[in-house]
């Protein structure tokens, strides 16, 4: 690829306003993991007006349920899970200032609209490239819901985790544009 954009999490609006769909990025800094069960709990807390176990403003959430860490390793295989399961919960987090999501697969129109409105991006990491992702994770600690096993919420320190911008703050969607571009009729 010609250019790789470096992102340092947490993010500011300046970090992402120049990014367009199809851009390759690598993410460093601290990010959080959450799958649907954790999102469900987040939303319940928001509705009850309670504090969430992780900060949201400027943060990146990675949708992942890793394999158990073998001895001597920080984490097991840690590739992205399918994102649509998080769709019902994401708009509320975007409203609170979430700036980035990493997963795989299409997002709902509600999520896409919220990304434009609150200025946030969605990135895909390559599904099934779980060993590669795991190598860019330098530290991992459970910060909430330990009892949920692979669904627990973790704080990760990542270094150059590769991802591709799929939805930018301008409302573009690489799943649509990419397919259109290469379709042969």
């Amino acid at each position: 690829m010609d250019k790789v954009y470096h992102l340092e999490a947490p993010l500011s609006i300046e970090d992402i306003e120049c990014l367009k769909i199809g851009d390759m990025v690598d993410v460093s800094g601290y990010i959080y993991t959450a799958r649907d069960a954790a999102h469900q709990r987040f939303l319940k807390l928001i509705k009850e007006g309670k504090e969430l176990p992780i900060p949201i403003e400027g943060q990146i959430i990675y949708y992942v349920g890793p394999t158990p860490a073998p001895p001597g390793k920080v984490i097991g295989a840690a590739g992205a899970t399918t994102s649509y399961r998080m769709d019902p919960y994401s708009p509320a987090l975007l409203e609170m200032g979430l700036k980035g999501m990493i997963g795989k697969g299409r997002r709902s129109n509600e999520v896409k609209e919220a990304m434009v409105k609150y200025k946030a991006i969605y990135m895909a990491s390559v599904g099934g490239a779980a060993a590669l992702m795991s190598r860019s994770i330098k530290e991992a600690s459970v910060v909430a819901y330990e009892e949920m096993g692979p669904e627990a919420v973790m704080k990760l320190k990542v270094e150059k985790m590769p991802a591709i911008v799929v939805n930018d703050i301008f409302g573009n969607d690489l799943y649509n544009e990419g397919k259109k571009k290469y379709r042969i009729n």
């Binding site: 599904g127 692979p150 690489l174």
Partner: protein, 279 residues
């Protein structure tokens, strides 16, 4: 009668469960490398490169290729002259899985359909038995991920649909799956038989190494035709646009009821994990 002990079976299954998850099969790896030459999209090329690199890291670090280490499926062909000693066969399979998933730090991905409570040891597994002549026990053992399995479909078509109707359904299924099964995918197709047999055929079709020809020349042509159509959709690696949506289409076919045309489409992601074990 030839005796085979459950102890040997447990050990082989255990080792295979780990090896399958750490080592991407050679045929898949070389197919991904070939795909690099044919992919026009830059993003697509980058994805293929990442998958190739991923396979190297997984093998070297002995960590799974994919975090979804799968539901275990065993298709067993039991020779009529084989006698299993030391316990029952199904329990031996499950014990092998239990040990392999634990020792290999693989993810337990089996749960109650409604409560979603994890069974904790990746069992029960799915077993299909068949009796064959001879004194061997042959197992096809696959670890199947949920993302691609969820996109698989079965249709009972009207016989008038014919080959054209079948082709349309396969391409439509791949289109609807889009990015979800982690393309590039391998498409297993079962045509004919009965409702459940077509699904088994589709699964067995996936047990042919990539890059090998279908022994049935009629099917060779059909496979090429469907693959070409699929790769015109533009879905591409990971659904982000490109030439390589699927690496191959593999078809198995058998006669069916005069009033039916069963069609099963088993979508397998690039993390194709299966092995043949012969005792």
């Amino acid at each position: 009668m030839r005796q085979i002990s459950t102890r040997t079976i447990i050990d082989r299954i255990k080792d295979s469960a780990m090896r399958l998850n750490f080592e991407l099969k050679e045929d898949v790896l070389s197919s991904l490398k070939d795909a690099l030459d044919n992919e026009e999209s830059q993003v697509g090329k980058e994805i293929l490169n990442q998958l190739i690199e991923n396979a190297g890291i997984a093998r070297h670090d002995m960590i799974p290729i994919c975090q979804d280490t799968g539901l275990a499926i065993i298709i067993a062909e039991m020779g009529q002259e084989v006698c299993i000693v030391g316990g029952d066969l199904r329990s031996a399979f499950e014990e092998g899985i239990r040990q392999g998933y634990k020792e290999g730090y693989l993810r337990n991905s089996v749960c109650h359909p409604f409560t979603r409570e994890n069974t904790g040891d990746n069992t029960p597994i799915i077993v299909h038995f068949d009796m064959v002549p001879g004194d061997r026990l042959k197992l096809w053992f696959a670890a199947k991920g949920g993302g691609s399995e969820n996109m698989s479909r079965l249709f009972m078509l009207p016989p008038s649909a014919g080959w054209v109707g079948v082709k349309e359904k396969i391409v439509q299924t791949v289109e609807e799956a889009g990015p979800n099964p982690c393309p590039p995918t391998i498409i297993g197709v079962g045509i004919g038989g009965s409702f459940e047999q077509s699904a088994l055929l589709a699964q067995k079709a996936l047990f042919r190494p990539l890059g090998t020809l279908n022994p049935d020349s009629e099917l060779v042509k059909m496979e090429d035709e469907v693959l070409e159509e699929i790769n015109k959709t533009g879905i591409g690696p990971q659904g982000l646009g490109g030439r390589i949506t699927s690496l191959a289409v593999h078809i198995l076919m058998m006669p069916c009821h005069i009033s039916s045309l069963p069609l099963a489409i088993d979508i397998q992601c690039h993390a194709s994990r299966y092995t043949e074990i012969i005792f």
